[in-house]
């Protein structure tokens, strides 16, 4: 049975208190590598959100209409990954058609969403927490927006940090990891307000 949680709480909790990036540390590779540039961060955040919502819905449907009735839940990892790969491929074609500039600026990172653990993580959280279809959509959307918010925030901070007198040994990835740690601590501050289970 689906857990009793208000859509409002689920939505805001998935964005803030249970932020997929800063609370679960999923999707870190592209988070760190793309956040150097705000435009690309914005594009990738948007792409991750769209992929999350579509794969969240698709994986929920596959799980509930095919895998559970047939008693094949143990295939969920491989099936979820195949669905994610297909959705990313389709999205690639659509972005190339609609916005070639965004497509080119995302470069290798768009196909890399296929192996972004945040995407698979959300699909598995949906399954573990036994969310209903509506809850899955809200949770996927919230997680996507949370990921987007986190990468935009990091990108904005990095822009400022680039001009700051950072000690030589800490420049680049070092200061970025420290910044992410501070961001995660700041987001933990929200955890008393809402929780998702």
């Amino acid at each position: 049975m689906s857990p009793v949680i208000s859509p409002f709480s689920l939505f805001f909790a998935s964005i803030l208190t249970s932020n997929i990036l800063l609370a679960n540390f999923l999707g870190m590779c592209s988070f760190i590598s793309i956040s150097k540039d705000m435009k690309s961060s914005n594009g990738l955040g948007m792409a991750v959100t769209v992929v999350l919502v579509i794969t969240g819905m698709a994986n929920w449907a596959v799980l509930h209409f095919i895998l559970i009735p047939l008693g094949l839940e143990y295939l969920r990892y491989i099936v979820f990954i195949v669905v994610i790969a297909a959705v990313v491929q389709i999205l690639e074609m659509v972005i190339d058609r609609v916005s070639p500039a965004l497509y080119m600026s995302l470069g290798i990172f768009l196909p890399l969403i296929t192996v972004n653990c945040a995407i698979l993580g959300v699909a598995l959280f949906i399954e573990i927490r036994n969310y209903s279809f509506i809850q899955s959509v809200i949770y996927s959307l919230g997680s996507g927006l949370g990921w987007w918010l986190a990468i935009m925030a990091l990108s904005a901070i990095r822009k400022k940090v680039d001009k700051a007198p950072v000690p030589a040994g800490l420049q680049g990835p070092g200061i970025t990891m420290i910044t992410i740690g501070f961001m995660a601590m700041a987001f933990i501050g929200f955890s008393g307000m809402l929780q998702v289970q």
Binding site: V62, I66, L67, L70, G71, L72, L75, I78, V79, V82, V83, A86, Q89, I90, M93, V94, D96, R97, P100, A101, M104, S105, G107
Partner: protein, 375 residues
């Protein structure tokens, strides 16, 4: 696990994958279908009806308009520039490294990177209309050194190919071994433009090179091969300035074409030519007799071969050292400093850059140094 589940698992996985695969192909058909579009060239001079969805370079080539592209459309040579007057979106990150700010402001684009998605208006130089795709026949392949082949091609009957010595053609080789697509690479003509029936190239084997490996290991006499020609703007200027020519390896090709044409026109009698040819060892030298004959016959023609790493036991009486050092010493001591000079260079980017530094040191005008860089 019972037998039914054993079959059910792969079957379900197969069905899910098949449905997703079908979804991908349907999306591909819908999203990548741009319908028929028109490319308007030079304000209505030519209108091409093409199927949308392909890069502009390929769409033009399908209609026999060949924009030069040394890399064959992979976006790594920056040669296939065209002016696109229609709005096709901002310059892509793959284009900007090859375009100056002025070119970007003038809407110059790399035609291999611009996808034809709607009807377009473009501007290209008129001479591109003369470029043809010719199916030639390999008449003779000769080893001129251990790694350079002289490839003589027979042009199809009735071909009217007019080119300037110094220009180049693009070899198109078919898929072979692990190479799955047709590949084009640019090579200078070494033939005399007065020979209306043949084209000749000097092709040096580049380890791992797609086209050079094909030419060296697969191309046979009697076989057909496509050549897109003529392309390029490296040619002799119509002045009476001294020509200071420098080449290395297969960079000999345009100079063979230039000198044999100068002999035909008689220009070689009136114009002073200094031709420096750099090689590593004696086994990298070729056409020595022909060039020595020219030197003997025409007092204005000077041929200076130089070896950078001559073999110890080689009976080498010519210059030694890097070609730049030899060039420098000749500019210092032998070449008339008062006369106007023009530089003509063909070879590797490193050699060309080094020669240009020397030429500038000796007061040669940068705008009068012409070159054909191996990209």
């Amino acid at each position: 696990m019972n037998i039914a589940t054993l079959f059910l698992a792969p079957l379900s996985l197969g069905v899910i994958s098949a449905v997703l695969g079908a979804l991908i192909s349907i999306t591909d058909r819908i999203v990548n279908n741009y319908g028929d579009v028109v490319i308007d060239i030079n304000s209505g001079k030519k209108d091409l009806n093409v199927k949308g969805g392909s890069p502009l370079l390929l769409s033009l080539a399908e209609q026999d308009i060949f924009v030069p592209s040394a890399c064959g459309g992979r976006g790594s040579c920056g040669a296939c520039k065209v002016k696109v007057l229609s709005d096709v979106g901002p310059h892509l990150p793959t284009e900007t490294p090859y375009l100056t700010k002025e070119e970007q402001a003038e809407n110059i684009r790399l035609s291999c990177q611009v996808k034809v998605k709607q009807s377009l208006e473009i501007e290209i130089p008129e001479e591109l209309f003369n470029i043809q795709k010719l199916t030639t026949k390999v008449k003779k392949i000769t080893d001129v050194t251990h790694d350079i082949k002289e490839v003589l091609l027979e042009l199809p009957e009735g071909t009217d190919l007019q080119y300037q010595p110094g220009q180049y053609g693009q070899f198109e080789v078919p898929p072979y071994n692990k190479i799955k697509e047709r590949t084009q690479r640019a090579y200078s003509f070494s033939s005399n433009p007065n020979d209306k029936n043949h084209l000749e190239f000097l092709i040096r084997l580049v380890p791992g090179g797609i086209v050079t490996t094909y030419v060296h290991e697969h191309l046979q006499e009697g076989q057909s091969i496509n050549v897109v020609a003529p392309v390029g703007d490296f040619k002799v200027q119509k002045t009476d300035a001294q020509m200071i020519c420098v080449a290395g390896g297969s960079g000999m090709a345009p100079f063979k074409s230039i000198f044999s044409h100068m002999v035909d026109t008689g220009e070689i009698e009136n114009r002073e030519v200094w031709y420096f040819f750099g090689a590593r060892t004696t086994k990298d030298l070729f056409y020595l007799e022909w060039l020595a004959d020219l030197e003997k016959k025409y007092k204005n023609f000077h041929f200076i071969p130089a070896l950078s790493e001559p073999e110890e036991n080689a009976d080498w009486k010519g210059e030694t050292g890097l070609i730049t050092e030899v060039l420098k010493s000749y500019l210092e001591t032998k070449i008339d400093t008062e006369k106007t000079k023009e530089g003509y260079l063909c070879g590797s980017p490193g050699m060309l850059d080094a020669c240009m530094i020397v030429m500038r040191q000796f007061g040669m005008d940068e705008n009068k140094i012409y070159f054909d860089k191996f990209a």
